[in-house]
Symmetry: C2
Subunit: 389 residues, 2 copies
């Protein structure tokens, strides 16, 4: 059911917003959602969006206009929240501890949702027996794969893969598949490298599924994804589902990787000018790391965007103006080193928008989105976010 949460009187505009405020551009959001949905459809896989970026039922409703679909979550607070809104098919994409497994199954018991759990060790598998007994719910489990030395997970050829599968079954849980995340793709920046990373993620993940099947495990779910590889995958044979999260909003890191343009970035922080140091080329604004996050993900990319790219109040990029420094509630705007641009005239009280290095991190600093569309100043709605664990 499509309902606009907390519709705001039409007279409210971004000029009335307290600064700093988090702005979400509905047109860009809609375009980004459609782009990956189309791509997944063409590749013949289910899209299981990761809700860790948006953390909002109102955003989820734009992703699933016809009703709840399969999702990925990063916390059990998200799982409980989306379950309360009718979402039934979730993967909790963080390796389980005995305590988190128990809590997840309690949510399943209470809401009727199925929260699929993730693990990669025999210790985690063994712990499921007691969790099953305590909660009376049979856990559904995916084995986490390591396809690019990024974080956790087992290599497809690791003999532990079969050992873990056996222990999952021995614990009385359902082994429903394998899951990979090509997290190292964030460090790439050419289409060729991204296409290759997507194919390498696919090959390793499908191989793990085949090994499991050769040992008698059905492995119905073959799940992979990261925003860069999801967009650059050309073939997903053998894969059943694709996961991505930041693609709904995009950000400067994804722009640096080459997955989006700056004008695809759907969130920004509205800030007010509160001073200047003309002798240093500085403009001071009332958005620091509390509003922008401390994320400096572009620092290791070809173009370092400081704490974010600065736009005018309508969202048009002010060329080569970045947030060069940030303290808790102060940002310092300056011209990017090496640029021949001069700082535009931004008197005290002027409002600007700042694009995120990392959308997940910027959004996490805010309790809600003020939804706009394009360059219109009208606020269409306020969409709440959830937080915590």
């Amino acid at each position: 059911m499509q309902t606009a949460a907390k519709t705001i009187p039409p007279s409210q505009s971004i000029h009335d917003l307290v600064t700093p405020s988090l702005i979400l551009d509905r047109g860009r959001l809609t375009r980004n959602i459609a782009r990956l949905a189309d791509h997944a459809r063409q590749l013949g896989v289910v899209l299981r969006p990761h809700m860790k970026t948006a953390k909002s039922i109102d955003v989820a409703r734009r992703v699933f206009p016809d009703g709840p679909g399969p999702i990925t979550v990063s916390t059990l607070a998200e799982a409980g929240y989306f379950a309360s809104h009718g979402y039934r098919d979730m993967i909790y994409a963080v390796g389980l501890s005995p305590a988190s497994a128990r809590r997840a199954l309690e949510i399943c018991w209470r809401t009727g949702a199925e929260i699929k759990l993730l693990l990669d060790t025999v210790e985690q598998a063994d712990a499921l027996a007691e969790v099953r007994e305590t909660t009376g719910v049979i856990p559904s489990v995916l084995i986490e794969l390591d396809v690019d030395d990024h974080r956790g997970g087992l290599k497809p050829d690791d003999p532990k893969l079969i050992e873990v599968a056996a222990r999952v079954v021995a614990a009385g849980a359902n082994l429903v598949g394998v899951l990979a995340h090509a997290g190292e793709s964030y460090g790439l920046n050419t289409p060729e490298a991204l296409v290759a990373a997507a194919e390498s993620e696919r090959v390793a993940t499908v191989r793990a599924a085949e090994i499991l099947r050769a040992h008698g495990y059905a492995c119905p779910i073959v799940s992979l994804g990261s925003t860069p590889t999801a967009h650059f995958a050309q073939n997903l044979d053998g894969v059943t589902e694709l996961r991505a999260g930041v693609y709904m909003f995009f950000d400067l890191v994804q722009h640096g990787v080459g997955v989006c343009n700056k004008d695809d970035i759907a969130i920004s922080v509205l800030a007010s000018v509160i001073g200047a140091k003309p002798e240093k080329g500085w403009i001071l604004v009332d958005a620091g790391w509390m509003a922008l996050s401390r994320d400096r993900g572009t620092a290791s990319q070809r173009v370092d965007q400081g704490y974010g790219v600065v736009c005018d109040e309508q969202g048009r990029v002010l060329e080569d103006v970045i947030v060069s420094q940030a303290s808790q509630e102060h940002g310092i705007l300056s011209i990017r080193p090496g640029s021949d641009k001069t700082m535009p005239d931004l008197p005290v009280g002027t409002r600007v928008r700042i694009l995120p290095n990392h959308a997940c991190a910027m959004a996490a600093q805010h309790a809600f989105y003020s939804v706009v569309d394009g360059e219109s100043a009208g606020i269409e709605a306020r969409w709440d976010r959830i937080r915590g664990w």
Copy 2:
């Protein structure tokens, strides 16, 4: 009035907490509060604590056991929150925009609090006339000083100091003093340099007050401070009040500067082990940057603490174990480069605590504190935090 908010049944222990959770050690908090209060008393100045770190009325009650005292705030959300709890004397330590000044005075009108505003330009001063007229409240104003090229503010000898003072008075506002923040002291690391920075902050601030007085402005408030200079100041002649915020909790950055010991750090994030990569020397935990923050403030210090120092569940430091990498909900523990230690045995489900690089940033990622005392596992209380702007 001293009341424990939301007292938790005594049976609740940190073993029952969801991970990640933010832990506050009451004993350490009490000791840190007493240390700076004693120092301010010896120096003969009023302490005006900055609430931007704790953002909690329960912490404020430990700072002011006899009832509300003078405070500093970083957002107008904090101002409104503390006003609703009886705090009357506040400095909003972020330069004003016309919109924020209006909102601050509306809070004053509604609550009876006095929120002193900060500015350093004639444009901000001129804007006060209309704000005064709209709200019917006479603004109280401090001029922001720049004592170490850190951020905003005027140099004491800048002729604009007198010009801005004149325009504040012309706008019908009360000029109540000057304010400095020696933010560059965070980059120091010897007692000599810190003592010198504190004295330099004092000299510049007092000089600005004297210049204003020579021009006929009374300048009753002479306010300065930063956690490092506040602790190392040896003489505050001419100063009326001292400000600091992070000192209540302390953190690894302050430890690197030399202001505290590791066992003074009062907050930490409780996390659970969810896996390991023995071949890489990694232990994986369920606390990433969402729980720890993206702050890497120790990266530029002599000892880089990664995303934080790891302790056992009781808060005892595991020597040379740090969080070396962090993604949204995953942290990777490893042994500090160059150390001859080996990783302790931390099986899946083990709980650890992680000390913050930057207490303001870590606390900001959480909605509440679970309050403990020392190595006892009992949770004494849950103290809520406020967020937003």
